[in-house]
């Protein structure tokens, strides 16, 4: 069954059960579909709904319950290569990674898994009782910081490059203490560090990079520039080197014990079987007999025999046979214990041997890459963000009430999101919950809509899609939050009249629009599923423009309608929307209301509207 078939089935299925589902506010399902690769499904649900159950059966990849923690991962998921990242994979990764804001074993490949457990094992094996204390300080119970090294290393496995202050904050450690530990690790060649002087802006670039790897949230504000330079230190695990270091360490341990055990660097002794006269290898030159090049006793000319067990350790004055034997026993014991106890580690080393090791490169390179990847993962929106904010015409530039033209773009693999109730939304730490759907929502201001569209490099070749009203609302809200300007009061007054106006004129062709949009969407999606998106890029762009217009009208219609109508529409759309997602309205919602959430409980942390494919 091809991915498209699966998707179609899913859609049909959903058609049958969507009524049911639409009744609940608490279902958020995002189905993501990746072009030309394995289908993936992320279902997030609170009460277990029929839809989710079915969907996961049809497209069995990852069922995510409760905000992005994978319940079960299919082999696909495990075997997925981390690079090259398609936008979708990045976005799905963001979902999982969100809690830890980084790559993590749960999202990584097997090799990442292994190397991370290698680090953890090594940390526990070798750095468990490391104390980074100055020698002059007396070791008291309180200041005993053994075990900290392990904690730090573990924390680093969940991060890539991290600013040391941030790490200290996360670990609730004093930054000096952390720095001491990190310096120790740097000496141990486990960690690479980078120090640089930077302004507040530079720090933000890093934050953006972190966000790109973590939760895809991009903070694009370049507003205030502090020119004060601070030295910031960054650190990152050097996995390739760690592998070498651990291997070398094991090798040295083994070699030292074995050398001592075998008395390798000792002088061979020879004994004459006849007269028991003893010689050492130092006498070799005199012992050689001229005729057959063998060693002969100087007195009786008998051929000498090498004495295998005799050690020249006697030379060192260690003449006590018992002591020597005891020492040998101890060494042998030690070697054996070492082999047993470090077996997991050496096994792991062997397994990691041929696997690619995650490589983050230098701080600068990583930052650039992470930002780029984040941009790619976000579709083109974050790129737009930066460009826009630099142009000073971002959607947050002028805090707009809800009357701008809304262009919603749903990328080809994204499917949709069921709107959670605003209460649900509250639980989201950041707005990336919406991102799981792989959406790219752009809210263009009424002032500059076309311009923005044109200026956009259509990198991710997203298709035009009708976006459910709640998205728009949320977007607006978010934007404003992002800008830190509280314009919510404006919304009710300004939005309603405008919407009503729009409503009047667009109501007439509402139906037709609806149908045509659906048809065109269907077609597009199919196209995209079948081809690489670049092929259809041009056409799609045109369509987007059209659809955008329609979309706006429609949206305006809907927004001014009563909740009943909204619900109807969402159902209608559900029936043939290709992405296989339900759109659901908060029951009480006029658009403005449901998101602004009368209780004022909209998440404060949400600061980015960039909702991405």
């Amino acid at each position: 069954m091809t991915g498209i078939d699966q998707l179609r089935n899913l859609r049909n299925l959903r058609g049958t059960c969507c009524e049911d589902v639409a009744m609940t506010n608490e279902v958020i399902a995002s189905l993501t579909y990746e072009l030309g690769s394995k289908p993936q499904l992320h279902v997030v649900e609170t009460p277990s709904r029929l839809l989710c159950a079915t969907a996961s059966r049809i497209v069995p990849d990852v069922v995510v319950a409760s905000w992005g923690f994978p319940l079960a991962a299919s082999p696909w998921h495990g075997a997925r290569e981390p690079l090259p990242q398609t936008p979708l994979m990045a976005s799905s990764r963001q979902v999982h990674d969100k809690p830890v804001r980084s790559w993590s074993p749960s999202t990584g490949t097997i090799s990442q898994d292994l190397i991370v457990s290698l680090v953890k094992l090594a940390a526990r094996a070798f750095y468990d009782d490391v104390t980074t204390k100055g020698d002059n300080q007396p070791k008291t119970g309180r200041s005993d910081n053994r075990g900290m090294a392990v904690v730090v290393l573990d924390a680093l496995t969940r991060r890539q490059w991290v600013r040391e202050e941030d790490l200290a904050k996360d670990l609730k450690l004093h930054s000096k203490q952390l720095r001491r530990t990190l310096r120790y690790f740097e000496e141990e060649k486990l960690v690479t560090r980078d120090h640089r002087k930077e302004t507040a802006k530079g720090a933000r670039i890093f934050s953006a990079a972190v966000a790109a790897t973590g939760d895809g949230q991009s903070s694009g504000k370049d507003g205030e520039e502090k020119l004060k330079l601070h030295t910031h230190s960054y650190c990152c695990l050097d996995y390739a080197q760690i592998y070498d270091v651990v291997r070398y360490r094991l090798h040295r341990m083994r070699k030292k014990l074995k050398d001592e055990l075998e008395n390798r660097n000792t002088v061979q002794e020879y004994v004459c079987p006849n007269c028991n006269r003893r010689y050492t290898a130092f006498d070799a030159l005199q012992l050689i007999s001229p005729d057959d090049e063998s060693f002969r006793c100087e007195s009786c000319r008998a051929e000498l025999v090498a004495e295998s067990d005799k050690r020249a350790a006697e030379e060192m004055g260690d003449n006590d046979d018992n002591a020597r034997r005891r020492r040998r026993e101890k060494l042998k014991d030690m070697l054996q214990k070492m082999e047993v106890q470090l077996k997991p580690l050496s096994d792991l080393l062997n397994r990691v041997k041929d696997l690619p090791v995650p490589e983050f490169g230098s701080l600068q390179a990583w930052e650039a890459r992470a930002n780029a990847a984040g941009r790619a993962a976000n579709g083109d929106s974050s790129a737009n963000d930066s460009s826009r904010s630099s142009q000073g015409q971002g959607y947050g530039g002028t805090p707009m009430p809800f009357l701008g033209e809304t262009k919603s773009r749903v990328s080809e693999f994204s499917c949709g999101v069921i709107l959670p109730s605003s209460i649900m939304l509250q639980k989201l730490p950041l707005c990336s919950a919406i991102m799981i759907g792989g959406f790219n929502v752009e809210v263009a201001l009424s002032g500059v809509p076309v311009k923005e569209e044109d200026s956009k490099p259509d990198v991710s070749a997203t298709t035009m899609k009708v976006l459910p009203p709640w998205m728009i609302k949320q977007g607006m809200n978010l934007t404003m939050e992002q800008r830190g300007e509280v314009k919510q009061e404006l919304r009710p007054e300004s939005s309603s009249p405008a919407n009503q106006l729009d409503d009047k004129k667009s109501k007439v062709n509402d139906k037709d629009d609806e149908k045509s949009i659906q048809a065109s969407e269907k077609k597009h999606l199919c196209d995209e599923y079948l081809k690489a998106y670049y092929a259809a890029l041009l056409q799609r762009q045109q369509d987007q423009e059209e659809a955008a217009k329609r979309n706006q009208q429609e949206l305006d219609n809907i927004s001014s309608e009563m909740p009943r109508q909204v619900g109807m529409k969402s159902k209608r759309e559900d029936d043939d929307r290709d992405d296989g997602v339900e759109w659901e309205e908060a029951p009480t919602g006029s658009l403005g209301l449901s998101l602004v959430s009368p209780t004022g409980c909209f998440p404060k942390e949400v600061d980015s509207l960039v909702i991405v494919a």
Partner: protein
């Protein structure tokens, strides 16, 4: 290891050399006497690089020989324990093999040869790995580590090993020819 040091020596010169080339004769004799010798203290004298000072001669009663105290600079070679040397194999037997690094003789006993190398008796006795890729025979060049030295007054003898990382054959004439 090589050192450039200043040594002193009392040279006895036959009275027949007394004349205009006395000094040249003295230096030539010094070179002939000293170069190539071995002292336990300084090692092998490789070459005299210069004569610093020739003191006043003292005529011996009865013989007529004159003793000159001579200070000279020279390069000496002294092997140390733990030193890595490159040496040429001179003899192979079932006890091990002998090699020469310049003037110094080194013996590598068979338990200091890697375990995978076996002694092959025959026309050209040698040590060979089981796959035959590495062969130690006469004239082979090996890199070895000195693990012991025996220093007599006039002789230095070393014991080496090739049973360590990066030691062993560095150029095998048998393989190339």
């Amino acid at each position: 290891m090589f050192f450039h040091i200043v040594l002193e020596r009392n040279m006895q010169l036959h009275p027949r050399h007394f004349g205009p080339h006395l000094r040249d004769k003295l230096v030539a004799k010094l070179m002939k006497d000293v170069e190539g010798t071995c002292s336990g203290r300084h090692g092998f004298v490789v070459a005299i690089t210069g004569v610093d000072n020739i003191g006043k001669g003292l005529i011996r009663d009865g013989t007529g020989f004159v003793t000159f105290p001579v200070k000279y600079q020279c390069v000496v070679f002294r092997p140390f324990k733990g030193e890595i040397l490159e040496a040429v194999v001179t003899m192979v037997n079932k006890m091990g093999f002998f090699a020469e690094a310049g003037p110094v003789q080194i013996f590598v006993s068979n338990h200091l040869i890697p375990d995978d190398m076996e002694f092959q008796a025959g026309d050209v006795p040698n040590y060979t790995t089981s796959d035959g890729s590495v062969k130690i025979q006469k004239e082979s060049e090996v890199r070895l580590k000195i693990i012991g030295t025996r220093v007599d007054a006039t002789e230095i003898f070393c014991i080496g090993t090739i049973k360590d990382d990066f030691l062993g054959v560095i150029n095998d004439p048998g393989a190339s020819s």
